[in-house]
Structures are given as C-alpha cells and as structure tokens.
C-alpha cells in the first residue's frame, strides 16, 4: 500500500451509488468466468492490468436528503453507531464513510476488465484518513478506483481507493465564499489479496513490498506475544449478520456457516472492518475530529468468538509488539499525525494468535 494516490484521469460518473446486491451477483459471475478461463489451456499468467477509470458519484446526500433509513440517513448512521459502538451524533466516523464508499469500490472490482476475481479476495489491510469532519447534511462526492497491482507471497494484491469530498453548498456558492467546489474529507485505501494469481512478468513475489505492510500472511505474526489486554470483545454468532445489515456487505462468509464452509472456513467469520471499526470507536474522544485509522488483518475471527484486545497510547506499547505488528502508512500523508500521539491496538484469540492490529492517530 502506498500513500501516494494516482486516480486514473478518465472519470466515469454514475448517477447514484450502486446497490451492492446486484454488484455481488456480477462479481460472482465474473469470478466464475475467470476461474473457467484459468483452467483452459494457456490459461496461466495473463496480462494483468487495472481498469484505467475513476468512478464518481456527485451529490450523494446525507441527513435529511438521504433516503429515509438508507445509507447516509440519520437513522442508518445511528444503527451503524449502535453496531460498532460509536457515539451516535451528527458527524460521520471514518468507518461509516468506508461503508458509504464500499459499493462504488466494489463496482470497480466487478467491471469486466478488472483482472482479479471478486469472490475469494482477502482483505489484508486498510488505511483511512479523515482530514476534515463530515457532518450529516453535507452533500458528498465519492470517487473510487483501483491502483498499485503488485505481487504478494501468496498471489497478487491491489489497492481500492475511495475518496469522499464535501461539496460546497448552494448558499456558500451564492455567498461567493471562495471555497472550491469540493473539499477532500476522507480517503480510504483497502488492500486486497487475490490468492494464487501470478503477475505475468514473474516479479519476485518476495521482493520489496511483496508483503507490504500488510502482513496478513503468517509472516511476522507468529512472533506476536500478546500484551496485557485492555478490553475483551464477546462476539456472538450473529455478529456478521448484524454488521452486514448496516454495511450492506452480505458476503456469505460473514453471514452463514454454510457460506463460510464453501470458502474453507469452519464457521462464519467477522467482517474485518467491523473489528477495525470497533477499535476506532473504542479509541474514544482521544482520536480527535480528524484522524488516521489503519488496520492490518491477520487470522480471521471465527464466530462466535471472544477476542482479547489491547488499545493503548502508542508510547505504552511494548517494543516487541510494535515490531511485530508493523505500520501501515496514512492514506493521506499531508498532515498525518505524529504516531506517538495516537493509540495502537491489537486483537488476538484465546491461543494468542493475532487477529488484527492497527492505529488511530489524531491528525495535525
């Protein structure tokens, strides 16, 4: 994952944020097609290039302008807050902006020219920066694109970037406020792994950046020695369904044991972003109004489960823990906070194996 972003110049504007249901159906069909193609003679390494397109939706309403109960509405935000433990209020946490932008990123991934199968992709890491507060009632412009296809020890990884900008209001324009038409508020970089896919140029998979900061592989995390916990999450069997209901991400590996078994998991697994959003919420007021929020996912959380969690000021994190869990760069480098001022968190299972780790750092 790199902090620098390079949105493709070709912008395709969609009328609204698409619905995830239809996107998943397309994603499943596309994945099946790719799987079939890979089994054909000569179906080995193909030319893998990312679609050179930025998806854009303007005028995405929040607050009263949003569909009642739908994404962006006060009621929907309150439901999200209830699920992840945020304090309900008038501002949109970064985890909620991720939820709002997720369908547009998914739309990029289900395009016919997207080179990787949606089904079975593994979320390795996430980095989000909230650079200005987004309030209920703001009209938003959302952009999404894919970038930085690169090798990983177990396949190929790619970043899906979502940017959310706040649009200038009509009043502000009429008043000649001098504000630009949109102001960047949020950038989220989601790093996914397509297992078993190879880049045609045969790049050394263990070269620099092969694991990136996303040590979602067993690399490094085996050395993790749990610190003393500061919290414990008791996650019920329905945790995946509950977060699916507010995030729209109804991937069957999260919502049913059968669905999970189809992908080789003994039970349903928690959404990684649910666990990360919960850590963000539990950072509390210390995170400030704007912040960087990173996470690296290791072992999936099988549901139901009890996850021991440590959320500590960075300065109170033992060096051995810090070395193992590494560091994901901020999604927006300019104005990124001094990591020393932030909180670092880790979550692990009863045998001490790491589930996730990350940071919440107030921005300057």
């Amino acid at each position: 994952m790199t902090a620098a972003t390079s949105a493709p110049a070709r912008v395709e504007t969609l009328p609204t944020i698409p619905g995830l249901g239809g996107l998943f159906a397309r994603g499943v069909a596309g994945s099946a097609r790719m799987a079939a193609a890979a089994r054909l003679p000569g179906g080995g390494p193909r030319d893998l290039t990312l679609p050179e397109v930025t998806y854009r939706v303007a005028g995405v309403p929040t607050g009263n302008g949003a569909e009642p109960g739908g994404p962006g509405s006060e009621e929907h935000l309150a439901r999200y807050a209830d699920v992840v433990g945020e304090v309900p209020g008038g501002t949109l946490p970064a985890g909620y902006l991720h939820v709002l932008g997720f369908p547009l990123a998914t739309a990029v991934m289900v395009r016919g020219d997207f080179p990787l199968p949606l089904v079975g992709m593994v979320h390795l890491a996430n980095s989000a920066s909230l650079v200005r507060p987004v309030r209920l009632g703001d009209a938003l412009e959302v952009r999404a694109w894919a970038q930085d296809l690169r090798p990983h020890r177990r396949g190929v990884q790619v970043d899906l970037v979502v940017e959310v900008s706040v649009e200038r209001t009509d009043d502000e324009r009429a008043a000649g406020s001098g504000l630009p038409a949109t102001t960047l508020a949020y950038r989220g970089v989601s790093t996914y792994l397509a297992k078993g896919v190879r880049l045609p140029d045969g790049s050394a998979p263990d070269g620099p950046g092969a694991n990136g900061s996303a040590n979602g592989s067993t690399n490094g995390t085996d050395a993790f020695v749990p610190p003393l916990p500061t919290a414990r999450w008791t996650l019920g069997a329905g945790t995946g369904r509950t977060y699916a209901a507010v995030s729209g991400d109804r991937n069957p590996i999260h919502t049913s044991a059968l669905g999970a078994k189809a992908f080789g998991f003994p039970r349903a697994i928690a959404h990684g972003m649910y666990t990360a959003a919960r850590a963000l919420a539990e950072a509390g007021p210390a995170r400030g109004e704007t912040y960087d929020w990173t996470v690296t996912f290791a072992k999936p959380v099988l549901l139901p489960s009890t996850v021991d969690v440590a959320i500590r000021p960075e300065g109170a994190v033992a060096a051995e823990v810090r070395d193992v869990v590494g560091q994901v760069p901020a999604a927006v480098a300019d104005g990124a906070g001094d990591p020393a001022t932030g909180l670092a968190y880790q979550g692990w299972d009863r045998t001490g194996r790491l589930h996730l780790s990350g940071r919440v750092t107030p921005r300057r």
Binding site: P226, L228, P229, A231, R232, A310, R312, A316, L343
Partner: protein
C-alpha cells in the same frame, strides 16, 4: 426568605458592620461559623450471606430496612427525626428509585426523616458516609445515617434490547395493527432474559479479569494472595469469637454470622483451588515473565448479599442523647483513574486518592494505627501496597518525590475484611467504617491516646475513595 443582593462594590470590601446593617431585606445572609466535627457514633449491619444463601428471597429494601431498624433499636432512635439517611445499592431494580426513603418509611424512625439514594459502585457506603459527615460538618444537619445494601440473589433481570424496543414501540402504538407489527419484530433469541453483569461497560472485561491484569503487571504471587485471604478469615473469625460484632450486627433470617467466613481455612486448602481469573493472560505480557493465573475463588471476594448502616452526628447531638463518640471523620478524597486504555489498573484509584489525602492533612502513610483496605481481591490489597513502595511509579504516576512508603502489616484489616466477610457491593463501606470506628475507640480507651485509621475502597469504573477516621480521648475534647 431574605433577598440576596451582591453589594455593588464587591463582597471583598464588605465589612461585618455592613453585613449587620444590611442584614434584613437587602444584604447577603451572614455565613455561619466554619466546619465542626462529624462523629461516627455506631453502626449496624446484618450478617452477610453468600449469593443464593440465606437471603435468596430478601430484597434490597428488606435488608436495608433490617439493618436500619437494628441501628434504631441499638441507639434508641424510635420516632426520631434524623437529618437524613443516605445510601444505595449497586444492583438495583428500577422500581427501587427511592430505595432508602422507602426503607426509612418502613422503619421506626420518624417518617419526617428525609433520605436519598446515592450510588458509586463498591464505594457507595463510604461515599455516603462522607456525604452525611460533610453535611454535619457544615451544620446543615445534626445527625444522619449512611449505608448501603446489595443483593446478587435478588438482582434485577432485564429483557433483551430487542424485546424492550418492541414493548416500548407497542406501548407507543396507536392502533392494534401497529402494536402487532411491533411485536412481530421480536425474535426467539430476544426472549432470553439479560442478567446483570459486573463487566466494565467500556472494556467488556469483568472486574476479576481487570484485576488479573493489574496483578500480572505488578507480579503479585499466588502465595502472597492466599496469605492475605487466610489472614482475613482468621482475623474475622477471631473478631466474631471475641464478641467484637455483638453490637455491630443484627441477625437476619436465621443468619447470625457472616456466611462466607471459613474458620477452617488454611494455606493448603487455598493452594488447592484452581485459578478463575486471568486464565487467558497465560503467556501474555512478555516472553520473559509470562502472566500465570493466580486469582482463585479463595483469594477473590464471593458474590454476597447484605446491608449495613452507620450512625453519624455532631458532638452536641450525641452528647444530648448520651451516645458515644467513636471517631471523627477527619477528611476524605475520591479519585478516578484512566483504565480504559490500560494506563492504570481498574481498581487502583485509591492508590491515587491516599497520597492526595495525606498531603492535605500533613500526614505520612506510616501515621496510622489501623489500615482498612477493602479486599475486593487479595491482590487489590497487594497491588495497592506494592505500588506505594515503588519509587518509579510513585514519581511518575503519583507525582511524589519518592515512594509513598510501607505500612506495618500487623495494622492492616485487623478484624478481617471482604475476603472473609463477603462483599455486598454498597454495604461494604458501612461495614468498614463501623468496624474501624469501634476499633479506634477501643484503642483510645485502652491507651488514652488518639488513634487514627486510613480507609480505602476501590470501585468499578476506575473509582476509589479514601478516608481518615480518628478517635480522641474525652479529656482532649474542647470543653
């Protein structure tokens, strides 16, 4: 009521003459003289029962009324209008919103005795004592009762959030259709009741798990914890044997002694118990010193039912009624710590309260004849004492010049504490205050010298309360 008016030239320049001349309809009301002493006169509690034991059918109100009524009988307060009765319960039914007032109405105190509920988790009883003492000190009341009650056996059970929402929605519904629709949202899983948990809401860790973390951080051994537990049982047993509690406890529902007390406890028996807290911490911490679980049912307090009361009053009020002045409430300090992100242990707030309290009163940790440190867990006592002896911790965390110091362990919890007696959360403060005050008065009667006790009680939410009690020989009291 006289009208209050701030003089235009500011109160600083207002002379007493001005005040007198302006007293009446326009000037500020003259401030009464400063604080006076508040005295612990006595206490009464019911024996503490193990959860599901003798009081399994007793409500908080029943137990608090029983403790209060015993106090009334002991001190001849029938029909008396006291200044106020203050107490509370940690686990409380919503119907008990006026628990203490209802208990007063059910007692033989004058129904004109005001009352209110106060709740500060396990520190409820001690905070109530401080509150009543402060009103006495300020001359707002002449007498009062502080106390607390708790039952785990008769704890409130709530319905699930799903069922609760449906019930509320249905009760707000205007049509039968809307009502049916509200109930249709109820899922089978919603029908399971919610029992109260002692988990910290912000961390999801139980108090025992929190203390296990603190225990690991301070490296407190299993053996040291078992020693504290054994001493608690031995001291409490000896106190019961000597008749110390004869004028502090009223039997209730056939229980005449604290049910949890084990007169036959031994280090061997305690050592045989399996750890119950901190089991998941095994191997965590660091590779050099992995945290081994050390906290057992023997060196942790059991869930308990019970109630306690303390009678406080001004010297004049007590002397008019020929009641004893056991000990004066010298001062108190409440502290809170940041435990949510692990900066400090959940139950470590008294460690912070005590040095502040000592500094304000010009005292050192060694300046006490008795120490009452609430045994939430044996390791709570030990982490508290160890922290005060730690130079670096005292400098960086408590802002002291060096270690706060050590105490003479033979002066600690000399008549036992919560490990043996049990710990009905809100009732513990009253038990400790009455015990300490009586011990101090006994010391002073023996030696003719003043005697002083330091009390410390930790509580959920990272709270902690410390207080100083002092007995004074009658000859030393001002005429």
């Amino acid at each position: 009521m006289a009208m209050r008016k701030t003089p235009a030239n500011g109160s600083a320049s207002t002379t007493s003459t001005d005040r007198r001349t302006s007293a009446g309809s326009t000037g500020p009301v003259e401030q009464r003289p400063g604080v006076r002493d508040a005295w612990v006169i006595g206490g009464n509690r019911i024996p503490f029962a193990r959860a599901g034991g003798k009081y399994s059918r007793s409500s908080n109100q029943e137990m608090f009324t029983a403790a209060l009524e015993g106090l009334v009988a002991r001190f001849g307060l029938q029909g008396e209008r006291l200044g106020e009765v203050v107490g509370g319960a940690v686990l409380k039914h919503s119907r008990d919103f006026n628990l203490v007032r209802e208990s007063v109405l059910g007692s033989s105190l004058s129904p004109q005795t005001p009352a209110y509920d106060l709740q500060q988790a396990c520190a409820t009883g001690l905070e109530a004592t401080i509150t009543v003492a402060n009103k006495i000190r300020l001359g707002q009341v002449e007498s009062g009762v502080a106390g607390g009650t708790d039952t785990v056996s008769d704890a409130p059970i709530a319905v699930s959030e799903g069922l609760r929402r449906a019930l509320l929605e249905a009760s707000h519904a205007k049509t039968i259709g809307a009502r049916v629709k509200a109930f249709a949202k109820v899922r089978p899983a919603d029908l399971a009741p919610l029992t109260p948990a002692t988990d910290e809401p912000r961390t999801g860790l139980s108090m025992g798990e929190h203390q296990a973390i603190t225990t690991a951080r301070w490296g407190i051994s299993r053996e040291a914890q078992d020693e504290v537990a054994l001493a608690s049982h031995q001291h409490l047993a000896a106190a019961w044997e000597s008749g110390f509690f004869d004028d502090l406890v009223t039997p209730h529902r056939g229980l005449v002694r604290d049910q949890n007390l084990r007169t036959d406890s031994s280090m061997e028996k305690l050592a045989a118990l399996k750890p119950v807290y901190g089991k998941r911490l095994a191997g965590s911490g660091s590779e050099d010193s992995p945290a081994a679980p050390t906290m057992t049912a023997g060196n942790s307090t059991p869930l308990t039912d019970g109630a306690s009361t303390v009678l406080l009053g001004s010297r004049e009020w007590a002397e008019q009624r020929d009641l004893p002045l056991l000990a004066r409430v010298v001062d108190a300090e409440t502290a809170a710590v940041d435990f949510v992100h692990g900066h400090e242990g959940l139950l470590m707030a008294p460690v912070h309260a005590v040095p502040r309290l000592l500094a304000r009163n010009g005292l050192k940790l060694g300046d006490f004849d008795l120490y009452e440190i609430h045994e939430a867990f044996a390791s709570t006592v030990l982490t508290t004492l160890t922290a005060w002896e730690d130079d670096e911790y005292c400098r960086t965390e408590l802002g002291l010049d060096g270690p706060l110091g050590s105490i003479d362990r033979s002066r600690l919890n000399v008549n036992g504490s919560s490990l043996a007696a049990g710990h009905p959360f809100a009732a513990t403060g009253g038990r400790i205050v009455a015990t300490a005050a009586k011990l101090l008065a006994g010391r002073t009667a023996e030696t003719g010298q003043p005697a002083r006790a330091l009390i410390s009680v930790c509580a959920a939410g990272g709270l902690g309360v410390a207080a100083i009690l002092e007995s004074v020989p009658a000859a030393d009291l001002p005429a």
